[in-house]
Amino acid sequence: MKRNPHLTQKIAFFLLLLATLLIVVPVGLIVVIIIQKGLPAMNWQFLTDIPRQGMRAGGIFPAIVGTAYLVGGAIIFALPIGLLAAIYLSEYSKENILSRIIKLAIINLSGVPSVVYGLFGLALFVVFFKFGASILSGALTLGIMILPIIITSSREALESVPDSFREVSLSLGASKWQTIRHIVLPNAIPGILTGTILGLGRAAGETAPILFTVAAFYLPQLPGSIFDQAMALPYHLYVISTQVPNVDEKIRYGTALVLVLLVLFMNLMAIIIRSKLRKNKKW
């Protein structure tokens, strides 16, 4: 008996559709569950109050503030270094063994498990530099972790600026740096912004790198300086869902919702900027 190729195709395409649904449907379910169960917890008090009664009541304000500090610190550290590294790779480096090693190092940096970043931050910033468990240690650790994201996306943005732009600028007598500063960078800003926002989202959601470098189990006050410990949203979610018994489910889902909204909002912004960028390209 000969197999009917069109029947085979129908079966195969059905299976492929099934595989796709197996990914997309659970994703939708996860988001719907978090929104549905987290929304009732959402009110002004939950967002602006400190945790009370051993985190079983009150709000999550210190965790929100802590995450904001960490993300801000990480980007202050990572953006300048990442941007300059991207400029080097796109404008200065030649196709040689050095640029190959740099690219390999970036790939490895993005593949290092997040908990290993935590170990590294502990060894270098907390113990060796004696910063202690502090916002500074945590932000630097997160900063190094998001460096590859920023380098890669900034480099892509810079490389997508057509060479003719550079040639015109150079032929008018501008120096290489002037060309980069006034011609290449302004045209690459949306792409750089996209990468930065994606990096922010990643830093906001990661738990393992801040476990031993900054995170405070329960600290019902706002940090006073960068040498203080702080609470953070992802760690707070971990704590109230595994370490503290009898936390109201509403508070857990509420915390998860705030974290997911924060991260998804950043990703959404990145996607919007990227699609705008595609539409408005001048070349």
Binding site: A19, I23, A85, Y88, N108, V127, P148, Y238
Partner: protein, 287 residues
Amino acid sequence: MRKIKEFIIEKMILLCGLAAIFFVGLIFLFLLKEGLAVFKMVGPFDFLFGKSWYPISEPPKLGILPLIMGSLLVTLGAAIISIPIGVGCAVYIAEIAPGKTKEILKAGIELLAAIPSVVLGFIGMVTLVPLVKNLFHLPTGLTALSGSIMLAFMAMPTIVSIAEDALYSIPRNYKEGAFALGATHWQTIWRVLLPAASSGILAAVMLGIGRVIGETMAVMMITGNAAVLPQSILVPIRTLTATVAAEMGEAVVGSEHYFALFAIGIVLFIISFIINVTADLFLHKKQ
């Protein structure tokens, strides 16, 4: 004056260009600095293949075989689930889905990649863990199987997006040639496109697995954290990453336990290094 300024700026650019190499080196150096001390107390062989992990007993037993087996078991399970589904989804997005659907599906996959692992762990705890418990009539649902299923979802975005890129970058004339010979769309996908994209798909699978081995929070929250040699996929286990995350908070700086956890960090670093370099070789072979 301007020349001096530009000279300084260009030197800074070069310096930052080397930052990635510098940080990879620094990470490895500090892991070695803190982790190698453990080998004064336990030989490398006994450390890697010792069957018991009791870091705070007297004297401590520092064998990480149960943790390695835990990581392997969860990773294997996640790979079995995520590879066929992930590659299937990539083919669907690259070849079959019409324009609008394609964009929506891609956004959905990006959404999954963006959800923080601690949130997935939490969702796994409240949905998947009770399900596994009831389905197999187990005393606890915190098992290797739950971990595998959850981790499969963390590997899939990586697998789908890289495999889809690989399929997308195949020259059009491959496909046109197959069609011209009278092949159906599926025959073209199966006999022409998949083989042509095989090295990219292999890289996608490897990077997905790399993501699984390194994943920490979700796996710590739903695999039950029992550092014993696993007998089946339906028992609690503990992975390398979860051990570090769970125990470092209690380990005293400078203790044997502390050194041992850093030594686990070295093992993880080397595993991820090998996976990433190999995957990169596959990706470059393609071009």
